[in-house]
Amino acid sequence: MSETNEPREVPQPHDAAPDSVDALRDAVAAYGLDALDADERAAVERALADDAELRGEAEGFAETAALLASATAPVEPPPALRSRLMAQLDALPQQQLPDAAAPAVPAVRAAPSEPAPAVRRAELETGPAERAAQRRWFQRPGAIIAAAAASVVLIAGAIIGVGWAGPNGWGAQREMAAIAEAPDVESSTHEVEGGGAVTLYWSAEQGRSGVVVEGLPDVGETSTYELWYIDDAGAQSAGTFDVAGGETWRVLEGDFAPGVAVGVTVEPAGGSPQPTTEPIVVIST
């Protein structure tokens, strides 16, 4: 009550953060139960990155929720699962802790830790050979996990010790790596007028695609980039992204079908159900 007319003690740097401390506290309990939808989840994670006290609260709820698993009955999985798992280990690189000190002070939006982004951007512009080199870099799942997503992992990992969440979380990283590793993976890089480049990777076999964007301008808090699958039936949203330091990557939401085109538009924050602006790039497959 007494606080109503006071300015917020901690300014919220992020657009979608819940409004009040109370709302956040409610959301953190639901977060521990995985009872938030993707947008709400992302908002809570951004808030957690800024607030150590809230993070402690979230860890307690996560631990509490995990205990609820103890009330379910154990069920033996099919025996084949074990051997299938063991057979896959060699192909899967482990994520090494890049910097032991980092989780202690989680950065809100750490700068992408890819090696020398400027250099790679230059490579993109120079020609097919360099492009191939870049693709090879990307196709190594260890490299993408360690490089393209390391900063995000650090943030998420700092929150509750496990960071699978969000469009750049571990689940998404595994998906992205799976696309990049697919035997039939193809890619196409398009430069964007006004600077930057978008590379689409797709696997028809997996029915999935992902983009790596570099050098795109930040469109600010009131706008966002939106991805679209475009076919004869029209455009279907495949998720939104914002860039940090001009770069990010994203697994597209929805199924990829061969022949579909992928477009990027700038939309009002939160995205639009249908494109409202001309695409900055369209990549056909």
Binding site: R25, D26, A27, A29, A30, G32, L33, D34, A35, L36, D37, E40, G56, E57, E59, G60, F61, A62, E63, T64, A65, A66, L67, L68, A69, S70, A71, T72, A73, P74, V75, E76, P77, P78, L81, R82, R84, L85, M86, Q88, L89, L92, P93, Q94, Q95, Q96, L97, P103, I145, V153, G157, I160, G161, V162, G163, W164, A165, W170, G171, R174
Partner: protein
């Protein structure tokens, strides 16, 4: 096994000996935390051991959420592959290994449900199965049984409305908005029940933050 150090600290030695004899009993040789630490260095044998110790519990949780057995198996596979990949990041100071694994399994299960099943199917399924506190009674070790009973007891101590919301969320995989729709109560009410319920559970289960 036979550690034959002789020094003045015999009390310590006895404790070590005691623990060794405990460990050579049928009980698991290594804790899940120890195994995860070894897995973090690429130890495949430790991974196999962790799988043997925990897979029935992880699969049990996943099966409860992802009803389809084939999909549940896929999710479980993803969970363990993620454990393998991310074990180097596991930090025992932040919580127990099992809690970490369950958290991971729950999140992946919920993501799978939301991605692959129509809301209608899920409603139907939950309508039949998941409204109540699970009353599964099987538990193969004393340790698991004790914990099981403690959790069931803590759930029973919630108000009925709190328990309903928490159960729909955790065992049904519903979002708070879906719960509000389903129970035909305002979203704010669901949020409050979830929060109050979780606070009570946290206290009852002795989780310190």
């Amino acid at each position: 096994m036979a550690r034959t150090t002789t020094n003045a600290g015999s009390g310590m030695l006895e404790r070590v000996a005691d623990r060794d004899s405990d460990l050579t009993a049928p009980a698991p040789v290594s804790t899940a935390e120890q195994l995860l630490t070894r897995i973090g260095t690429g130890d495949r044998e430790a991974f196999g051991e962790l799988y043997d110790q925990t897979s029935a519990r992880v699969f049990g949780l996943v099966r409860r959420l992802v009803v389809d057995p084939a999909q549940a198996e896929e999710v479980t596979q993803d969970v363990y592959l993620e454990i393998w990949q991310t074990a180097p990041r596991f930090d025992a100071a932040r919580g127990s290994a099992l809690a970490w694994m369950f958290t991971l399994a729950h999140r992946r299960s919920v993501d799978r449900i939301r991605a692959s099943q129509a809301a209608r199917d899920r409603d139907l399924r939950i309508g039949v199965r998941d409204l109540d506190v699970p009353v599964d009674t099987v538990a193969e070790t004393v340790e698991i049984r004790v914990e099981h009973e403690r959790v069931v007891g803590a759930l029973e101590d919630l108000s009925e409305l709190q328990r309903e919301c928490v159960s729909l969320a955790y065992y049904g995989g519903l979002t708070q908005s879906e719960i509000a729709d389903r129970l035909e109560v305002p979203l704010g009410t669901v949020k409050t029940r979830l929060r109050d319920g979780m606070i009570r559970l946290r206290t009852a289960l002795g989780v310190t933050t």
